[in-house]
Structure formats: structure tokens, C-alpha cells
Symmetry: C2
DNA sequence: TCTTTAAGATGAGATTTTCTCATGATAGGT
DNA sequence: ACCTATCATGAGAAAATCTCATCTTAAAGA
């Protein structure tokens, strides 16, 4: 019935004072404006402006439409600017989920640095312990998933961040502390301290114990890595943790770490995003930042070992 | 680039939850919406919504456009309503100009009644003593002119309101008071009291004295009809006024009135409007109201005579 | 797991809208 | 009274938008 084109035309006519001049500004012919205006007037059933004066004079109805233009056009322009900003990846949303508890340790500094560099990006972090992150990523609830168990999918892209070794944290005075590596059997009489998530999500089971059909003597759960360390240090149990997650404690000689099995258990953390967003600048940037941050952690480990 | 159609489509999709349902509501095919959406996404360079979920999920960019729709669409709808109201003549503007001083007398009650009946119409009154009202009417500054000197014009419509007699108001004890009528010569030794406007706008000259080539001995000017009456009653001069303008004073025997010339000087008041607005309801209504109001004045005269 | 079903995507062609070109009409300035 | 600049108009071209028919795919049911 009445479109933005009409509002823009009326606005231009007001600024220009005549159809001819307005047509030039809008890069169309005077004829186009004349037709357009006449069609609009016919459909609305009102005269919008008196073309016989110089500059042209708007009727009451014309003034009303100009007021409408003054309200609507700036809103549209701002909306379009925002969309462009989103499209070019200058602003946007990064809803992030992590599947591993320990990741907070290297993630937090990375997030801080990212926030500084991309203040326009709405950042949100959730722990994906209680739900499956892949479907959420696919449907757009999430924009990135940090996981060591990437599930391949056509619409997803999994980018490796870094590899790490899952090691067993043991008390310094434990009999296990002296071993070059630990076999599964050795855990049969130990208390294992884990994060409180399903067993299927714990690498110590899926990548080590289940293979050998071994079950620890007891399982204790806690959410907090520092508390885990305290329990281990006190000889109340052992915990399987990423090497970078405990490097700090190793340096302070609070605990010892021993590889799991002769080859050790190695895992790789991946960042998963939707393939369609592969080119979004701030996503690429974030992954770079995350890699750098994890590198610092690894350097710490080298220094410690 | 981005039109109202798109905003309406997105809004409908949000309400409906799917393209198919939204297409039904908008009375187009699902295909149309699919094409429309894809074109928009291509042009903007962003995905707007994820069609694979039920209901569909909007991306950040999509949400931004929906927010825009929520701002813009209500404004457009209200604007359209206002225009319709203007188009059907339920609201509008009546900028009125009168060319005769005395007209205020019958116009004021008419305006009061009109204001009650058409509160939506913006009413404005100006006295057209210092400018030419016809051009202002043509160019849209005015919407109606009350004049006893209608100038015919293709784009204008002059509707007669009522006829009146221009009479000479004289003191009761004046020698002129006894006359059946007054000839031009009789004014040669009189003081004539007029409104302070150009001589060409005074009927007493153009329609009576100029004919006979007579000039009054003296001319006095005043803006206010009651003051004119007081001066006349005090024998300080005579004044040419419409019969209805002085009926009240005649009834109270403050002054006398005498016809100008044997046939009297008769004039007809007209309401002039733009021909294109001939059908505007509140203009027709106003003219009706004005006629009725003037009729009351004439009844007063009959009662007085 | 295999159907079934409903939704969305796509290409071609029809329809509608909007524009340009060429020309006519008109008002204001000289 | 004649220019000159402005707006109007009709016909046809160009562009945008829609429909129809058909395909692909995801999710629900057997």
C-alpha cells in the first residue's frame, strides 16, 4: 500500500523543493516521481502536495506522511547499519559452551583478552555438562563448543586448538608417585576423584579404565579443581586431569603427576562452529586467541617438567 | 534494499513459527516467502533464521530485524490510519479567512458549534485584511475564504451563504434618520466611520459613493464595531454596515439605519473553497452551519423591523 | 530401521510493479 | 505574449515479485 520508497521520495521532494531536483537526488527520472506520487495519491485518496507552488507545498496529509518518514527512515537506516555490522562480523554474538571442567583455567584469560578486543560482540559462556552441545550449536543456541569429543557433522567445522595429556594426579608420598607410568590395574584399589558428570563424559573411564575393565575402589566427586588438588595432596584419592590444568600445582610441589599407561592418554581440544560461520572474523580471532592462551599453559608445563 | 514487505514477512514468520503457516496468513505461497527470505539474506549477507527447527529460530541479525519491525510497523499502521481519516474527511484542517470585519459577529457562534461537532478538525481563523486570500486559498495556506467579492477561478468553488443589505447607521436624532433612503450627495458633509482597511475594500465606496463621485467630508477609522456604534449614537459620524451587524443595536434603539440609495446596496457573502475539496464532509458541514447561523441573525432583523 | 509426512528449497515462467523515454500541458518570469 | 522550467501522461521496457511444479530433507511413526 505505502512503501519506504514513497517516504523517501516525499522526504527528497521536501528537501529539494521540486520533483525535478528530487528526481536527480534519487537518481531516477522526474517521470518516475510523478507516476509514483500520483499512484500513491490515487490509492490513498488524498492529495499530498501542491506542485504548482515553488517550492512545492505539502497538504495536511502530505505533512503527516513526512512526519512518518521522519520517524521511520532513521530507524530503518540504523537497523540497516546494525545488520551490516553483524554481516561484516564487526559485531555479533558468541555463545560459548565448554564440555570440560578444567577448561575454565585457560579459557578465562582468553575470554578477558577477547572482550577487550571485540567489545561489540555479545559474549556468553555456559558449561555443557547437562546437555548435548552439538544440537544446540546446530540450532543456533550456541555459536561455539569447546570439546575433546568432536562429533563430525556436515554443517559443523571442528578446529583443533591443542593436544594435551591426561595424567593422574597423585600425592607426593603416594606409592604411585614414583612410577614411570600407571597401568589400569593400579587404580583398582584407589579412590578416584572426578567432576560430577556422567561417567561417559569422563576420559579416565572411556579412554583408559573401560578398556581394561577396571573399576576404581571408590569414586568421589567435586566440582572444583583446587579442591580436587587439595584432596589428592592430602592422600584422599587420585584424579585424572589435563597436564596444563595442574602445572601450577606441580611447580609448587603440592602433588605429583604420572602418565596413564605406557603411551599416556592424549586428547585434543577442538573448537566447533557452524560451517556457515567459518569466515566470521571474531570467531576466527577467538580461536587464535584461545590457541595462544593454551600455548602459555603448555610453556608453563615445559618449565615445570 | 530492505522493504516493509520484508519486515511484515519476518513478523508473520515469528508469529506463525513456520514459512508455510506464515505464507497462509499473508495470502501468498510458501515459495514466495522462501524466495523473498533468500533474496534478503543474500543481499544483506547474513542468515536471518534457521528453518530447520520448529518453530524456526531467528539469528541475531534476524532478531535485530524483528526489533526493527516492532518499531516501524506500528508507526506505519498508525500513519496509514491517520491518512485514511484525513482522506475520508473525518479529520482535517479548516484554515478560514474572512474579508469583512463585521463577520465575526455571526461567525463566532458558527465556529463554536462546528468545533463541538468536528473536534478532529484543526480550526484556524485569520482576518484577510492585509493580504489577498484567493492566492493563499489556491496554494493551500487557507482552506476557506468568506468574502463578498468572489473572484471566479477554475480551481475554486464559491458557494453563496446569504444576502444582506448594506445600510447606513445614523444617530437617532440625526436629520438623516427620518429619510426613507439616503443619496450619495447627503454624505458629502458627513463624517464617515470605517474599518481601517484600504478604500478598495470598503463597499460604501466601491458600491455607492465612487459611482456618484462623492467624497465624505471626513473619514474616521476604528477596528471595533461596538465603538463604531457608540460614535454613531453620539452623533460623531455615520457608518455603513451590514444590516445583520447592527440589528442588536437597532432593537435597543441606540441608533437608526437607513438604506443607501433607492434600491439599497445588497451584497451576498460567499464561502470559497478549492474545487477538489468540494466533497470534503466537514467543509460542506461548515457551510451549512454558517448558513443556519446567519439565518438566526436575519430572523433577528425581521423581528426588529 | 524403514516409511511417512510435512516443511523448506529451487527453477522456470507468469504477473505485477516500477521505471524510462518521448512528448504534451502549464505557470511564472521577462 | 513569449520563453523556460516544471509537472503530467501514455506506451513500452525493465525489474521485482509471485505462482506452479517438483525436489530435498528432517523428524515422527510403525
Amino acid at each position: 500500500m505505502i512503501g519506504l520508497r514513497h517516504l523517501e521520495t516525499l522526504d527528497a521532494i521536501r528537501e529539494a523543493g521540486s520533483l525535478v531536483e528530487a528526481a536527480e537526488r534519487l537518481h531516477v527520472t522526474q517521470s518516475a516521481l510523478s507516476h509514483q506520487l500520483r499512484d500513491l495519491e490515487d490509492r490513498l485518496g488524498v492529495s499530498l502536495l501542491n506542485r504548482r507552488t515553488r517550492p512545492v507545498r505539502f497538504t495536511v496529509a502530505g505533512e503527516r506522511l513526512l512526519a512518518l518518514a521522519d520517524q521511520v527512515l532513521p530507524l530503518m537506516r540504523q537497523g540497516l547499519r546494525d545488520i551490516r555490522s553483524l554481516a561484516t562480523g564487526q559485531s555479533g554474538r558468541l555463545h560459548l559452551a565448554i564440555e570440560c571442567h578444567a577448561c575454565f583455567q585457560w579459557l578465562m584469560p582468553a575470554l578477558d583478552r577477547f572482550r577487550e578486543q571485540w567489545p561489540q560482540v555479545e559474549l556468553d559462556l555456559s558449561a555443557a555438562f547437562a546437555f548435548a552441545p552439538q544440537p544446540a550449536l546446530l540450532r543456533g543456541d550456541l555459536d561455539m563448543v569447546i570439546s575433546s569429543d568432536p562429533v563430525e557433522h556436515d554443517a559443523l567445522l571442528w578446529l583443533p586448538l591443542f593436544s594435551y595429556e591426561l595424567v593422574l594426579a597423585v600425592a607426593r608420598d603416594s606409592v604411585l608417585a614414583a612410577r614411570d607410568f600407571i597401568d589400569a590395574q593400579s587404580l583398582a584399589d584407589q579412590t578416584l576423584i572426578t567432576y560430577p558428570v556422567e561417567r561417559e563424559r569422563l576420559d579416565i573411564f572411556t579412554a583408559f579404565l573401560d578398556h581394561a575393565g577396571v573399576e576404581p575402589a571408590q569414586i568421589r566427586r567435586t566440582e572444583l579443581t583446587p579442591m580436587m588438588i587439595q584432596l589428592v595432596a592430602a592422600g584422599r584419592g587420585v584424579a585424572a586431569l589435563p597436564n596444563w590444568a595442574i602445572s601450577e600445582y606441580l611447580q609448587h610441589d603440592l602433588i605429583c603427576s604420572v602418565p596413564l599407561g605406557k603411551q599416556g592418554v592424549w586428547r585434543t581440544l577442538h573448537a566447533g562452529i557452524r560451517r556457515e560461520e567459518a569466515e566470521v572474523p571474531f570467531l576466527q580471532e577467538f580461536i587464535q586467541t584461545a590457541k595462544q592462551e593454551s600455548l602459555r599453559g603448555l610453556q608453563g608445563i615445559r618449565a615445570a617438567s
